[in-house]
């Protein structure tokens, strides 16, 4: 992205969390990930989602890919959109340009920090601080949820496995990124 992109500039002021790489676990900050939220108000939110996004919405507790973007269910009428910064920004701009008063699309990439966790110990590292059941029956690839990570909230999505090891994307408030990094450094 060009330096004039305000989202990219804001992100640079964020905390610098050292990557953790050790046998069985790697925790890496994911740079350049655009993060946005879509809220649709009213009872027919899923049908409205389809009109706006051109695809059926993800089922509850699931994330689906569409083109360059991923759409994750967060709550009834609420979805998280992730992908390359420019693609997310363009999607938000297009949704906002509809001028509809029953929806809110907001890019908050600069307020969040994303990590990629992978390795055979990734579940154990998360389980030390997150109450979710992350075993494959309850949380297969494509699952997504909001929950807790220690004293803060997190969004977690299970991505496609790398080899035999699970891979997770987690997103926390940017102000809690250093805290999250410390949790994993000790997990």
């Amino acid at each position: 992205m060009a330096d004039s992109n305000p989202t990219a500039l804001l992100r640079r002021t964020g905390p610098d969390v050292a990557d953790i790489v050790r046998p069985g676990l790697s925790v890496r900050t994911e740079t350049g990930l655009g993060i946005a939220k879509l809220r649709i108000f009213g009872r027919a939110a899923d049908a409205r989602f389809q009109e706006i996004a051109g695809i059926a919405p993800p089922l509850p507790c699931r994330e689906i890919g569409s083109g360059d973007l991923a759409f994750a269910w967060l709550a009834p009428g609420e979805w998280l959109i992730t992908g390359a910064e420019a693609a997310v920004a363009a999607w938000v701009e297009r949704a906002t340009a509809l001028g509809a008063d029953d929806l809110l699309a907001i890019d908050f990439s600069h307020a969040r920090t994303a990590f990629l966790l992978e390795g055979e110990s990734a579940r154990a590292a998360l389980a030390a601080h997150c109450p979710l059941d992350l075993w494959p029956d309850a949380f297969p690839a494509g699952a997504a949820a909001r929950s807790l990570l220690g004293d803060t909230g997190l969004f977690i999505a299970r991505l496609a496995d790398t080899g035999d090891a699970p891979r997770f994307r987690i997103i926390v408030d940017q102000t809690m990124a250093a805290y999250a990094g410390r949790l994993f450094a000790r997990a």
Binding site: P60, C61, L74, A75, P76, E78, P131, L132, D133, A145, R146, S147, L148, G153
Partner: protein
């Protein structure tokens, strides 16, 4: 720790929730005709039963939605989870 089944997210740990106290407490009105006694009842007095209870819970760390729970205050057994705005027929749950 309780395992509470959110109607939207499924079973989740108690620490993801906040308990909103007794369910189905109705605000008396019109407000200028309510006695001090009835208003105090509404604001401060709750049934606090030993046994079957109906409570409101908020999935604060998850989907952010409110819902009702029928829970036994002695055994902690959850007999039913049902949406806001609905009631549970007498005898259908603890």
């Amino acid at each position: 720790m309780l395992l509470i089944t959110c109607p939207h997210c499924g079973p989740r740990a108690e620490i993801e929730y906040r308990c909103g106290g007794e369910a189905h407490v109705e605000r008396p009105g019109p407000h200028d005709q309510v006695s001090d006694q009835a208003w105090a009842d509404y604001l401060f007095y709750r049934a606090n039963p030993k046994g079957g209870h109906r409570e409101r819970w908020l999935h604060v760390a998850g989907c952010g939605q409110w819902f009702n729970v029928a829970r036994d205050t002695i055994t902690h057994e959850i007999a039913a989870v049902y949406p806001m705005g609905e009631t549970l027929a007498e005898g259908s749950a603890a």
